[in-house]
Amino acid sequence: MIYLDLMIGFLKVGLFAFGGAYGAIPLIRDVVLSYGWISDEMLTYMIAVSESTPGPIMVNMATYVGSSQAGFAGALIATAAVVLPSFVIILLIMILLKRLLKDPYVQAVLRGLKPCIIGIILATGIFMILQRCIGSFSGISVDPTAVIMTAVLAAVYFGLPKIAKRALSPIGLIGISAAAGIIVYGLI
């Protein structure tokens, strides 16, 4: 049943989403692809939409996937499910277990989790770029347009803070890449 799947899928995301806004993206990708809810391509569109609208990315993605799969009720269930684990955990920490986070065993678990998440986020970012530029493992086909656009956008995003001493915001990069997409893909 779709409501139950949405609930379980996004409870998992909510429970394991350590590591800030981008920590949740590999998890959400895992869940939505394994249930076959949306394609990898649609997922990147949604990340961009979530980044360009107010609110935490993880919550935005849950609302979006829930709504696309099962309308308003689906959106409600997915959003509640993604928020619930952190809500409950904060309450537990405040009521019962103020010292829980200082417990050496909990600390040991967190010491393993944090670097693992960084590795996972790094792999996800690199894989998404590779996928766009050279296709999938089963069907490698280099897309020169995508390679050039990746190089130019990366140079602008990572180079601008060094030249102009002013960082480009994520929304700024999304805006520039959208304009570049309209020009480049419109002309081809």
Binding site: S34, P56, V83, P85, I90, I129, T150
Partner: protein, 191 residues
């Protein structure tokens, strides 16, 4: 204004005006809850930030739950948390009804093809920033490298291994090391 609607509206305002989520929201929450409303102190705000980094979920939601519970127990926690989530819920729900239709318009589809490339760069950037901040010691570096390689292989060969499995494995290794080293080696294991 009584406290429940006040909590709800204050956090709804924060939810409506923060783009990009995460740390962008902390500044707004600090301004509203510490400076204006004096619901929590600056030190408590620091505490919540530390707790939020060690617990799952968006930091803004963790803050809302914390402040709400401190002011008015479970009802307060619920009011503040629903408040911070509601604006983006409404916005995204509306967008989700129209995005498929938008994507059928040629120039918008082209724009999103460009955006796809930006998203990869943004995720890469998030990882790079986290690597810069992390402790450059053998254990975290080894865990990071191992999970990076494992996750990349999982993605490339479309293996049916979840990132949650990798996270549980990393946590188990770290815990096992801590227990194995015992009290004598705790310092070494911990760093």
């Amino acid at each position: 204004m009584s406290i429940l609607p006040d909590l709800f509206l204050t956090f709804a305002k924060i939810g409506l005006f923060t783009f990009g989520g995460g740390y962008a929201m902390i500044a707004l929450i600090e301004d509203a809850c510490v400076e204006k409303k004096r619901w929590i102190t600056h030190d408590e705000m620091m505490d919540v930030t530390v707790i939020a980094e060690s617990t799952p979920g968006p930091i803004a939601i963790n803050c809302a739950t914390y402040v709400g519970f401190k002011q008015k127990g479970y009802a307060g926690a619920a009011a503040a948390t629903v408040g911070i989530v509601l604006p983006s819920f409404c916005i995204i729900f509306m967008i989700s009804r129209f995005l498929d239709n938008f994507l059928e318009i040629a120039w918008i589809a082209h724009a999103f093809q460009g955006i796809r490339i930006a998203v990869g760069i943004l995720i890469l950037d998030a990882a790079v920033k986290m690597i810069r901040k992390m402790q450059k010691r053998p254990f975290p570096l080894a865990v990071m490298t191992a999970s990076f390689i494992a996750m990349l292989l999982v993605d490339i060969f479309a293996l049916r291994i979840s990132s949650i499995t990798l996270m549980l494995a990393a946590a188990a290794v770290s815990l096992a090391l801590y227990i194995a080293k015992g009290s004598g080696g705790r310092e070494a294991a911990g760093k």
